[in-house]
Protein backbone atom coordinates (compact mmCIF):
# COMPACT_ATOMS: atom_id res chain seq x y z
CA UNK A 1 0.00 0.00 0.00
CA UNK A 2 2.58 2.57 1.10
CA UNK A 3 5.20 1.94 -1.60
CA UNK A 4 2.50 2.20 -4.29
CA UNK A 5 1.51 5.74 -3.31
CA UNK A 6 5.08 6.86 -2.79
CA UNK A 7 6.09 7.41 -6.45
CA UNK A 8 3.06 9.60 -7.35
CA UNK A 9 3.54 11.59 -4.14
CA UNK A 10 7.20 12.17 -4.93
CA UNK A 11 6.41 13.18 -8.49
CA UNK A 12 3.72 15.62 -7.33
CA UNK A 13 6.10 17.10 -4.77
CA UNK A 14 8.76 17.63 -7.45
CA UNK A 15 6.29 19.32 -9.81
CA UNK A 16 4.98 21.59 -7.07
CA UNK A 17 8.51 22.50 -6.00
CA UNK A 18 9.42 23.33 -9.62
CA UNK A 19 6.30 25.44 -9.98
CA UNK A 20 7.01 27.30 -6.71
CA UNK A 21 10.64 27.96 -7.66
CA UNK A 22 9.66 29.18 -11.13
CA UNK A 23 7.08 31.61 -9.73
CA UNK A 24 9.59 33.07 -7.29
CA UNK A 25 12.59 33.29 -9.61
CA UNK A 26 10.69 34.58 -12.66
CA UNK A 27 8.62 36.92 -10.50
CA UNK A 28 5.31 35.90 -12.15
CA UNK A 29 2.35 38.07 -11.23
CA UNK A 30 0.09 36.10 -8.80
CA UNK A 31 -2.91 37.32 -10.83
CA UNK A 32 -1.65 35.26 -13.78
CA UNK A 33 -0.09 32.27 -12.06
CA UNK A 34 -0.09 32.07 -8.27
CA UNK A 35 2.57 29.90 -6.64
CA UNK A 36 1.47 26.70 -4.86
CA UNK A 37 2.10 28.42 -1.54
CA UNK A 38 -0.26 31.20 -2.63
CA UNK A 39 -2.94 28.68 -3.61
CA UNK A 40 -2.56 26.94 -0.27
CA UNK A 41 -2.83 30.23 1.55
CA UNK A 42 -6.00 31.14 -0.39
CA UNK A 43 -7.43 27.71 0.37
CA UNK A 44 -6.78 28.04 4.10
CA UNK A 45 -8.11 31.60 4.28
CA UNK A 46 -11.30 30.71 2.39
CA UNK A 47 -11.78 27.22 3.76
CA UNK A 48 -15.23 27.83 5.20
CA UNK A 49 -16.52 29.28 1.94
CA UNK A 50 -14.92 26.66 -0.31
CA UNK A 51 -15.97 23.89 2.09
CA UNK A 52 -19.63 24.92 1.89
CA UNK A 53 -19.54 24.94 -1.91
CA UNK A 54 -17.67 21.61 -1.97
CA UNK A 55 -20.34 20.07 0.24
CA UNK A 56 -23.01 21.03 -2.26
CA UNK A 57 -20.94 19.56 -5.09
CA UNK A 58 -20.48 16.32 -3.16
CA UNK A 59 -24.22 16.06 -2.52
CA UNK A 60 -25.15 16.56 -6.18
CA UNK A 61 -22.42 14.22 -7.46
CA UNK A 62 -23.27 11.51 -4.95
CA UNK A 63 -26.99 11.67 -5.65
CA UNK A 64 -26.56 11.69 -9.44
CA UNK A 65 -23.93 8.99 -9.33
CA UNK A 66 -25.97 6.65 -7.11
CA UNK A 67 -29.07 7.08 -9.23
CA UNK A 68 -27.01 6.49 -12.34
CA UNK A 69 -25.44 3.30 -11.03
CA UNK A 70 -28.80 1.94 -9.92
CA UNK A 71 -30.40 2.87 -13.22
CA UNK A 72 -27.52 1.37 -15.23
CA UNK A 73 -27.81 -1.83 -13.21
CA UNK A 74 -31.53 -2.19 -13.92
CA UNK A 75 -31.12 -1.38 -17.61
CA UNK A 76 -28.17 -3.77 -17.93
CA UNK A 77 -30.28 -6.62 -16.56
CA UNK A 78 -33.09 -5.77 -18.97
CA UNK A 79 -30.73 -5.63 -21.95
CA UNK A 80 -29.06 -8.87 -20.87
CA UNK A 81 -32.33 -10.76 -20.96
CA UNK A 82 -33.85 -8.97 -23.98
CA UNK A 83 -31.38 -8.98 -26.87
CA UNK A 84 -33.85 -7.16 -29.15
CA UNK A 85 -34.13 -4.30 -26.64
CA UNK A 86 -30.35 -4.12 -26.68
CA UNK A 87 -30.32 -3.81 -30.46
CA UNK A 88 -32.90 -1.03 -30.31
CA UNK A 89 -31.61 0.95 -27.38
CA UNK A 90 -27.84 0.81 -27.66
CA UNK A 91 -27.67 3.21 -30.63
CA UNK A 92 -29.75 5.70 -28.63
CA UNK A 93 -27.42 5.42 -25.65
CA UNK A 94 -24.41 5.88 -27.92
CA UNK A 95 -26.04 8.94 -29.52
CA UNK A 96 -26.69 10.39 -26.06
CA UNK A 97 -22.94 10.34 -25.50
CA UNK A 98 -22.24 12.49 -28.54
CA UNK A 99 -24.26 15.47 -27.24
CA UNK A 100 -21.72 18.11 -26.22
CA UNK A 101 -22.12 18.96 -22.55
CA UNK A 102 -21.32 22.56 -23.31
CA UNK A 103 -24.52 22.79 -25.37
CA UNK A 104 -26.67 20.73 -23.09
CA UNK A 105 -25.79 22.17 -19.68
CA UNK A 106 -27.19 25.68 -20.31
CA UNK A 107 -30.32 24.18 -21.89
CA UNK A 108 -30.90 22.00 -18.85
CA UNK A 109 -30.63 25.07 -16.61
CA UNK A 110 -33.04 26.86 -18.89
CA UNK A 111 -35.57 24.03 -18.74
CA UNK A 112 -35.24 22.93 -15.12
CA UNK A 113 -33.95 26.00 -13.28
CA UNK A 114 -31.10 26.42 -10.85
CA UNK A 115 -32.10 23.58 -8.53
CA UNK A 116 -30.90 20.05 -8.06
CA UNK A 117 -32.72 18.42 -10.98
CA UNK A 118 -30.74 19.66 -14.02
CA UNK A 119 -27.43 18.90 -12.32
CA UNK A 120 -28.43 15.43 -11.27
CA UNK A 121 -29.72 14.74 -14.77
CA UNK A 122 -26.46 15.90 -16.27
CA UNK A 123 -24.44 13.66 -13.94
CA UNK A 124 -26.66 10.71 -14.88
CA UNK A 125 -26.29 11.49 -18.57
CA UNK A 126 -22.50 11.48 -18.29
CA UNK A 127 -22.01 8.49 -15.98
CA UNK A 128 -24.80 6.15 -17.04
CA UNK A 129 -23.29 4.98 -20.30
CA UNK A 130 -19.82 3.97 -19.09
CA UNK A 131 -21.48 2.18 -16.19
CA UNK A 132 -23.86 0.33 -18.51
CA UNK A 133 -21.07 -0.68 -20.87
CA UNK A 134 -18.93 -1.98 -18.01
CA UNK A 135 -21.78 -4.09 -16.68
CA UNK A 136 -22.69 -5.53 -20.08
CA UNK A 137 -19.09 -6.36 -20.88
CA UNK A 138 -18.79 -7.95 -17.43
CA UNK A 139 -21.80 -10.17 -18.13
CA UNK A 140 -20.20 -11.29 -21.38
CA UNK A 141 -17.09 -12.37 -19.50
CA UNK A 142 -18.94 -15.16 -17.74
CA UNK A 143 -17.04 -18.36 -18.54
CA UNK A 144 -19.33 -20.61 -20.59
CA UNK A 145 -18.28 -23.55 -18.42
CA UNK A 146 -19.84 -21.92 -15.34
CA UNK A 147 -23.17 -21.22 -17.02
CA UNK A 148 -23.13 -24.72 -18.54
CA UNK A 149 -22.47 -26.37 -15.21
CA UNK A 150 -25.45 -24.61 -13.66
CA UNK A 151 -27.63 -25.44 -16.66
CA UNK A 152 -26.67 -29.11 -16.33
CA UNK A 153 -27.90 -28.93 -12.73
CA UNK A 154 -31.24 -27.71 -14.02
CA UNK A 155 -30.78 -24.00 -13.28
CA UNK A 156 -32.96 -21.54 -15.20
CA UNK A 157 -31.78 -18.30 -16.80
CA UNK A 158 -32.40 -16.22 -13.71
CA UNK A 159 -30.59 -18.60 -11.44
CA UNK A 160 -27.64 -18.70 -13.86
CA UNK A 161 -27.62 -14.91 -13.96
CA UNK A 162 -27.56 -14.63 -10.19
CA UNK A 163 -25.09 -17.43 -9.51
CA UNK A 164 -22.62 -17.11 -12.41
CA UNK A 165 -23.16 -13.99 -14.52
CA UNK A 166 -23.37 -11.36 -11.77
CA UNK A 167 -20.34 -12.61 -9.83
CA UNK A 168 -18.35 -12.82 -13.08
CA UNK A 169 -19.16 -9.16 -13.79
CA UNK A 170 -17.82 -7.97 -10.45
CA UNK A 171 -14.38 -6.76 -11.65
CA UNK A 172 -15.97 -4.97 -14.61
CA UNK A 173 -18.55 -3.38 -12.34
CA UNK A 174 -15.86 -1.86 -10.13
CA UNK A 175 -13.84 -0.71 -13.14
CA UNK A 176 -16.96 1.06 -14.42
CA UNK A 177 -17.60 2.52 -10.99
CA UNK A 178 -14.12 4.06 -10.91
CA UNK A 179 -14.44 5.58 -14.38
CA UNK A 180 -17.92 6.94 -13.72
CA UNK A 181 -16.94 8.35 -10.34
CA UNK A 182 -14.34 10.64 -11.87
CA UNK A 183 -16.86 11.75 -14.50
CA UNK A 184 -19.46 12.40 -11.80
CA UNK A 185 -17.43 15.12 -10.06
CA UNK A 186 -16.38 16.78 -13.31
CA UNK A 187 -19.94 16.73 -14.65
CA UNK A 188 -21.30 18.25 -11.44
CA UNK A 189 -18.80 21.10 -11.56
CA UNK A 190 -19.63 21.64 -15.21
CA UNK A 191 -23.34 21.79 -14.47
CA UNK A 192 -22.77 24.24 -11.63
CA UNK A 193 -20.61 26.35 -13.89
CA UNK A 194 -23.54 26.68 -16.28
CA UNK A 195 -25.71 28.07 -13.53
CA UNK A 196 -26.13 27.37 -9.81
CA UNK A 197 -26.46 29.00 -6.44
CA UNK A 198 -23.90 26.81 -4.71
CA UNK A 199 -21.13 24.45 -5.68
CA UNK A 200 -17.49 24.45 -6.72
CA UNK A 201 -18.47 25.19 -10.33
CA UNK A 202 -20.16 28.46 -9.51
CA UNK A 203 -17.36 29.27 -7.06
CA UNK A 204 -14.80 28.82 -9.81
CA UNK A 205 -16.85 31.01 -12.15
CA UNK A 206 -17.11 33.80 -9.58
CA UNK A 207 -13.41 33.59 -8.70
CA UNK A 208 -12.46 33.74 -12.37
CA UNK A 209 -14.69 36.77 -12.97
CA UNK A 210 -12.95 38.52 -10.07
CA UNK A 211 -9.48 37.60 -11.41
CA UNK A 212 -8.73 35.40 -8.38
CA UNK A 213 -6.59 32.77 -10.07
CA UNK A 214 -5.51 31.54 -6.64
CA UNK A 215 -9.11 30.82 -5.63
CA UNK A 216 -9.81 29.07 -8.95
CA UNK A 217 -6.84 26.81 -8.33
CA UNK A 218 -7.81 26.27 -4.69
CA UNK A 219 -11.23 25.03 -5.85
CA UNK A 220 -9.53 22.78 -8.41
CA UNK A 221 -7.39 21.30 -5.64
CA UNK A 222 -10.52 20.57 -3.62
CA UNK A 223 -12.30 18.95 -6.59
CA UNK A 224 -9.27 16.74 -7.23
CA UNK A 225 -9.26 15.77 -3.57
CA UNK A 226 -12.97 14.94 -3.79
CA UNK A 227 -12.38 12.68 -6.77
CA UNK A 228 -9.51 10.92 -5.04
CA UNK A 229 -11.63 10.45 -1.91
CA UNK A 230 -14.44 8.95 -3.98
CA UNK A 231 -12.02 6.60 -5.73
CA UNK A 232 -10.62 5.61 -2.36
CA UNK A 233 -14.09 4.84 -1.06
CA UNK A 234 -14.81 2.68 -4.11
CA UNK A 235 -11.57 0.82 -3.63
CA UNK A 236 -12.43 0.20 0.00
CA UNK A 237 -15.87 -1.06 -0.98
CA UNK A 238 -14.26 -3.37 -3.54
CA UNK A 239 -11.93 -4.85 -0.92
CA UNK A 240 -14.54 -5.19 1.78
CA UNK A 241 -17.03 -6.95 -0.47
CA UNK A 242 -14.48 -9.15 -2.29
CA UNK A 243 -15.22 -12.84 -1.78
CA UNK A 244 -12.85 -14.19 0.80
CA UNK A 245 -11.71 -10.80 2.03
CA UNK A 246 -12.27 -11.99 5.59
CA UNK A 247 -11.10 -15.59 5.17
CA UNK A 248 -7.89 -14.52 3.55
CA UNK A 249 -6.92 -11.86 6.03
CA UNK A 250 -7.71 -14.03 9.02
Amino acid sequence: MLPSILPPLLLAACLLAGWEIYCRLADVAPLILPAPSGVLQALVLNRADIGAHALSTIAVAALGFSLSVGFAFLVSIMLHFLPWAKKGLMPLFVASQTIPLIALAPLMILWFGFGLLPKVLLVILVTFFPMLLSLLSGYRQTPAAFADLLASMGAGRLSIFRRAVLPSARPSFFAGLRISATYAIVATIFAEYAGARRGLGIYILAAKNNFHADLVLAAVVVSAALTLALLGAIRLLDRLTAPGSKARHA
Binding site: A145, F146, S152, M153, G154, S159, R163, P243, G244, A247
Partner: protein, 247 residues
Protein backbone atom coordinates in the same frame (compact mmCIF):
# COMPACT_ATOMS: atom_id res chain seq x y z
CA UNK B 1 -29.82 -48.34 -17.10
CA UNK B 2 -29.11 -45.23 -19.15
CA UNK B 3 -29.50 -45.63 -22.89
CA UNK B 4 -28.44 -43.15 -25.49
CA UNK B 5 -29.82 -43.98 -28.92
CA UNK B 6 -28.89 -42.68 -32.33
CA UNK B 7 -27.16 -39.46 -31.35
CA UNK B 8 -26.11 -37.31 -34.30
CA UNK B 9 -24.59 -33.88 -33.87
CA UNK B 10 -24.04 -31.55 -36.79
CA UNK B 11 -21.82 -28.48 -36.78
CA UNK B 12 -22.91 -25.07 -38.06
CA UNK B 13 -20.87 -25.60 -41.23
CA UNK B 14 -22.76 -28.81 -42.04
CA UNK B 15 -19.93 -31.09 -40.88
CA UNK B 16 -20.97 -34.04 -38.72
CA UNK B 17 -19.40 -33.97 -35.28
CA UNK B 18 -21.05 -37.21 -34.14
CA UNK B 19 -23.03 -39.69 -36.27
CA UNK B 20 -25.58 -42.21 -35.07
CA UNK B 21 -23.87 -42.94 -31.78
CA UNK B 22 -25.50 -45.24 -29.25
CA UNK B 23 -24.26 -46.30 -25.86
CA UNK B 24 -25.64 -47.63 -22.62
CA UNK B 25 -24.53 -47.10 -19.07
CA UNK B 26 -25.33 -49.59 -16.28
CA UNK B 27 -26.42 -48.17 -12.93
CA UNK B 28 -23.10 -49.06 -11.33
CA UNK B 29 -19.50 -49.33 -12.43
CA UNK B 30 -17.34 -47.20 -14.67
CA UNK B 31 -17.57 -47.08 -18.43
CA UNK B 32 -14.63 -45.33 -20.04
CA UNK B 33 -14.97 -43.37 -23.27
CA UNK B 34 -11.66 -42.99 -25.07
CA UNK B 35 -10.78 -41.50 -28.42
CA UNK B 36 -8.52 -38.98 -30.13
CA UNK B 37 -8.77 -35.27 -29.39
CA UNK B 38 -11.65 -33.61 -31.18
CA UNK B 39 -13.55 -36.84 -31.92
CA UNK B 40 -16.59 -35.56 -30.03
CA UNK B 41 -16.32 -37.07 -26.53
CA UNK B 42 -17.13 -33.83 -24.73
CA UNK B 43 -19.94 -33.15 -27.18
CA UNK B 44 -21.59 -36.47 -26.31
CA UNK B 45 -21.33 -35.68 -22.59
CA UNK B 46 -22.67 -32.18 -23.09
CA UNK B 47 -25.63 -33.48 -25.04
CA UNK B 48 -26.39 -35.96 -22.26
CA UNK B 49 -26.12 -33.12 -19.72
CA UNK B 50 -28.44 -30.95 -21.81
CA UNK B 51 -25.89 -28.22 -22.47
CA UNK B 52 -24.77 -28.74 -26.06
CA UNK B 53 -24.08 -25.29 -27.60
CA UNK B 54 -27.10 -23.95 -29.50
CA UNK B 55 -25.18 -23.54 -32.75
CA UNK B 56 -24.89 -27.33 -32.99
CA UNK B 57 -27.86 -29.35 -34.29
CA UNK B 58 -28.46 -32.61 -32.53
CA UNK B 59 -30.92 -35.43 -32.59
CA UNK B 60 -31.03 -38.54 -30.49
CA UNK B 61 -32.91 -40.12 -27.66
CA UNK B 62 -32.12 -40.46 -23.99
CA UNK B 63 -33.81 -43.34 -22.16
CA UNK B 64 -33.62 -43.91 -18.41
CA UNK B 65 -34.80 -47.38 -17.37
CA UNK B 66 -36.66 -47.69 -20.64
CA UNK B 67 -38.45 -44.32 -20.32
CA UNK B 68 -37.70 -41.42 -22.62
CA UNK B 69 -36.17 -38.66 -20.53
CA UNK B 70 -35.78 -34.91 -20.87
CA UNK B 71 -32.40 -33.23 -20.59
CA UNK B 72 -30.99 -31.95 -18.29
CA UNK B 73 -32.22 -34.73 -16.06
CA UNK B 74 -31.90 -34.81 -12.27
CA UNK B 75 -30.81 -38.44 -12.67
CA UNK B 76 -27.59 -37.31 -14.36
CA UNK B 77 -24.87 -35.07 -12.98
CA UNK B 78 -22.11 -33.70 -15.08
CA UNK B 79 -18.59 -32.64 -14.25
CA UNK B 80 -17.05 -30.48 -16.97
CA UNK B 81 -13.56 -30.72 -18.39
CA UNK B 82 -11.48 -28.72 -15.89
CA UNK B 83 -13.11 -28.61 -12.47
CA UNK B 84 -15.60 -25.79 -12.98
CA UNK B 85 -15.22 -24.57 -9.39
CA UNK B 86 -16.51 -21.01 -8.93
CA UNK B 87 -13.62 -18.88 -7.65
CA UNK B 88 -15.93 -16.57 -5.69
CA UNK B 89 -17.50 -19.37 -3.65
CA UNK B 90 -15.89 -21.24 -0.77
CA UNK B 91 -15.18 -24.93 -1.21
CA UNK B 92 -18.27 -25.76 0.88
CA UNK B 93 -20.46 -23.41 -1.16
CA UNK B 94 -19.11 -24.92 -4.37
CA UNK B 95 -19.86 -28.42 -3.12
CA UNK B 96 -23.40 -27.36 -2.17
CA UNK B 97 -24.12 -25.62 -5.46
CA UNK B 98 -26.01 -28.45 -7.14
CA UNK B 99 -28.25 -28.95 -4.12
CA UNK B 100 -29.05 -25.26 -3.98
CA UNK B 101 -29.89 -25.16 -7.66
CA UNK B 102 -32.23 -28.09 -7.06
CA UNK B 103 -34.12 -26.06 -4.49
CA UNK B 104 -32.53 -26.69 -1.11
CA UNK B 105 -31.92 -23.64 1.05
CA UNK B 106 -28.33 -22.54 1.47
CA UNK B 107 -28.21 -23.76 5.07
CA UNK B 108 -29.77 -27.14 4.22
CA UNK B 109 -27.41 -27.66 1.30
CA UNK B 110 -24.35 -26.76 3.37
CA UNK B 111 -25.37 -29.08 6.21
CA UNK B 112 -25.84 -31.88 3.68
CA UNK B 113 -22.28 -31.56 2.33
CA UNK B 114 -20.54 -30.82 5.65
CA UNK B 115 -20.28 -34.46 6.89
CA UNK B 116 -18.71 -35.57 3.59
CA UNK B 117 -15.64 -33.37 3.77
CA UNK B 118 -13.66 -35.85 5.85
CA UNK B 119 -14.14 -38.86 3.58
CA UNK B 120 -13.35 -36.70 0.56
CA UNK B 121 -10.03 -35.66 2.07
CA UNK B 122 -11.16 -32.05 2.26
CA UNK B 123 -11.46 -31.61 6.03
CA UNK B 124 -10.51 -28.06 7.01
CA UNK B 125 -10.97 -26.61 3.54
CA UNK B 126 -14.68 -25.81 3.95
CA UNK B 127 -14.27 -22.06 4.17
CA UNK B 128 -11.26 -21.81 1.86
CA UNK B 129 -11.49 -20.68 -1.74
CA UNK B 130 -10.65 -22.91 -4.73
CA UNK B 131 -7.46 -21.00 -5.56
CA UNK B 132 -6.10 -22.00 -2.17
CA UNK B 133 -6.36 -25.72 -2.99
CA UNK B 134 -3.96 -28.03 -4.82
CA UNK B 135 -5.01 -29.56 -8.14
CA UNK B 136 -5.89 -32.88 -6.51
CA UNK B 137 -7.99 -31.22 -3.85
CA UNK B 138 -9.81 -29.15 -6.46
CA UNK B 139 -10.74 -32.33 -8.30
CA UNK B 140 -11.98 -33.88 -5.06
CA UNK B 141 -14.07 -30.78 -4.38
CA UNK B 142 -15.51 -30.92 -7.90
CA UNK B 143 -16.29 -34.60 -7.43
CA UNK B 144 -17.93 -33.90 -4.08
CA UNK B 145 -20.13 -31.31 -5.80
CA UNK B 146 -21.02 -33.89 -8.46
CA UNK B 147 -21.69 -36.76 -6.07
CA UNK B 148 -23.83 -34.96 -3.46
CA UNK B 149 -26.41 -34.29 -6.13
CA UNK B 150 -27.29 -37.95 -5.61
CA UNK B 151 -27.95 -38.67 -9.26
CA UNK B 152 -27.78 -42.25 -10.44
CA UNK B 153 -25.49 -41.41 -13.33
CA UNK B 154 -22.34 -39.34 -13.38
CA UNK B 155 -20.57 -37.92 -16.41
CA UNK B 156 -16.90 -37.09 -15.84
CA UNK B 157 -15.01 -35.25 -18.58
CA UNK B 158 -11.28 -35.91 -18.18
CA UNK B 159 -11.37 -35.38 -14.41
CA UNK B 160 -7.70 -36.16 -13.79
CA UNK B 161 -5.97 -34.90 -16.92
CA UNK B 162 -4.52 -31.80 -15.24
CA UNK B 163 -2.90 -33.74 -12.39
CA UNK B 164 0.68 -34.95 -12.04
CA UNK B 165 1.24 -38.71 -12.43
CA UNK B 166 1.40 -39.57 -8.73
CA UNK B 167 -1.61 -37.49 -7.73
CA UNK B 168 -3.50 -38.96 -10.65
CA UNK B 169 -2.85 -42.54 -9.47
CA UNK B 170 -3.96 -41.62 -5.95
CA UNK B 171 -7.09 -39.92 -7.23
CA UNK B 172 -7.97 -42.94 -9.37
CA UNK B 173 -7.83 -45.28 -6.36
CA UNK B 174 -9.74 -42.72 -4.38
CA UNK B 175 -12.46 -42.50 -7.04
CA UNK B 176 -12.90 -46.29 -7.01
CA UNK B 177 -13.18 -46.25 -3.20
CA UNK B 178 -15.76 -43.42 -3.22
CA UNK B 179 -17.83 -45.26 -5.80
CA UNK B 180 -17.69 -48.43 -3.68
CA UNK B 181 -19.35 -46.39 -0.86
CA UNK B 182 -22.09 -45.19 -3.15
CA UNK B 183 -22.50 -47.04 -6.44
CA UNK B 184 -23.24 -44.92 -9.48
CA UNK B 185 -23.20 -45.43 -13.20
CA UNK B 186 -20.16 -43.47 -14.34
CA UNK B 187 -19.23 -42.43 -17.86
CA UNK B 188 -15.58 -41.41 -17.72
CA UNK B 189 -13.98 -39.59 -20.63
CA UNK B 190 -10.22 -39.97 -20.68
CA UNK B 191 -7.20 -39.80 -22.98
CA UNK B 192 -5.20 -42.04 -20.71
CA UNK B 193 -5.22 -45.76 -21.60
CA UNK B 194 -3.73 -46.64 -18.21
CA UNK B 195 -6.54 -44.80 -16.51
CA UNK B 196 -9.18 -46.48 -18.66
CA UNK B 197 -7.84 -49.98 -18.05
CA UNK B 198 -7.30 -49.42 -14.31
CA UNK B 199 -10.74 -48.00 -13.57
CA UNK B 200 -13.31 -49.10 -16.11
CA UNK B 201 -15.40 -52.23 -16.35
CA UNK B 202 -15.91 -51.49 -19.99
CA UNK B 203 -14.13 -49.30 -22.51
CA UNK B 204 -15.87 -47.62 -25.44
CA UNK B 205 -13.47 -46.67 -28.22
CA UNK B 206 -14.49 -43.68 -30.27
CA UNK B 207 -13.05 -42.26 -33.48
CA UNK B 208 -13.58 -38.94 -35.12
CA UNK B 209 -14.94 -37.24 -38.26
CA UNK B 210 -17.68 -38.13 -37.71
CA UNK B 211 -17.55 -39.31 -34.10
CA UNK B 212 -18.74 -42.87 -33.59
CA UNK B 213 -18.04 -45.84 -31.36
CA UNK B 214 -15.92 -48.47 -33.10
CA UNK B 215 -15.43 -50.96 -30.28
CA UNK B 216 -16.72 -51.90 -26.88
CA UNK B 217 -14.18 -53.79 -24.80
CA UNK B 218 -14.89 -55.35 -21.40
CA UNK B 219 -12.11 -55.23 -18.81
CA UNK B 220 -11.92 -58.43 -16.77
CA UNK B 221 -11.90 -58.40 -12.94
CA UNK B 222 -12.85 -55.75 -10.38
CA UNK B 223 -10.66 -52.61 -10.52
CA UNK B 224 -9.07 -53.26 -7.12
CA UNK B 225 -7.72 -56.68 -8.13
CA UNK B 226 -6.17 -55.92 -11.49
CA UNK B 227 -2.46 -56.45 -12.07
CA UNK B 228 -0.54 -54.09 -14.26
CA UNK B 229 0.94 -57.04 -16.18
CA UNK B 230 -2.45 -58.44 -17.13
CA UNK B 231 -3.58 -55.05 -18.43
CA UNK B 232 -0.65 -54.44 -20.76
CA UNK B 233 -1.93 -56.61 -23.67
CA UNK B 234 -5.34 -54.94 -23.38
CA UNK B 235 -3.69 -51.53 -23.72
CA UNK B 236 -1.83 -52.73 -26.79
CA UNK B 237 -5.11 -53.80 -28.34
CA UNK B 238 -6.64 -50.42 -27.57
CA UNK B 239 -3.66 -48.61 -28.99
CA UNK B 240 -3.81 -50.48 -32.28
CA UNK B 241 -7.58 -49.93 -32.44
CA UNK B 242 -7.08 -46.18 -32.07
CA UNK B 243 -4.27 -46.12 -34.64
CA UNK B 244 -6.20 -48.26 -37.15
CA UNK B 245 -9.13 -45.88 -37.03
CA UNK B 246 -7.08 -42.71 -37.09
CA UNK B 247 -7.88 -40.59 -40.16
Amino acid sequence: MLDLRGLSIGGADGAMVVRDLSLSLPASGITALIGPSGCGKSSVLKWLAGILPKDLDAEGQLMLDGQASARPSPAISYQPQGDGLFPWLTVAQNAALGLQVRGLSRAEALSRVAPLFRSFGLKGTESQFPDQLSGGMRQRAAFLRTVVQDSRYILLDEPFSALDAVTRLRMQDWLVARLADRPRGVLLVTHDLHEATRLADRILVMTGSPGRIVAEIPVPGPPTQRSEAALAPLRDDLKSLLLENAP
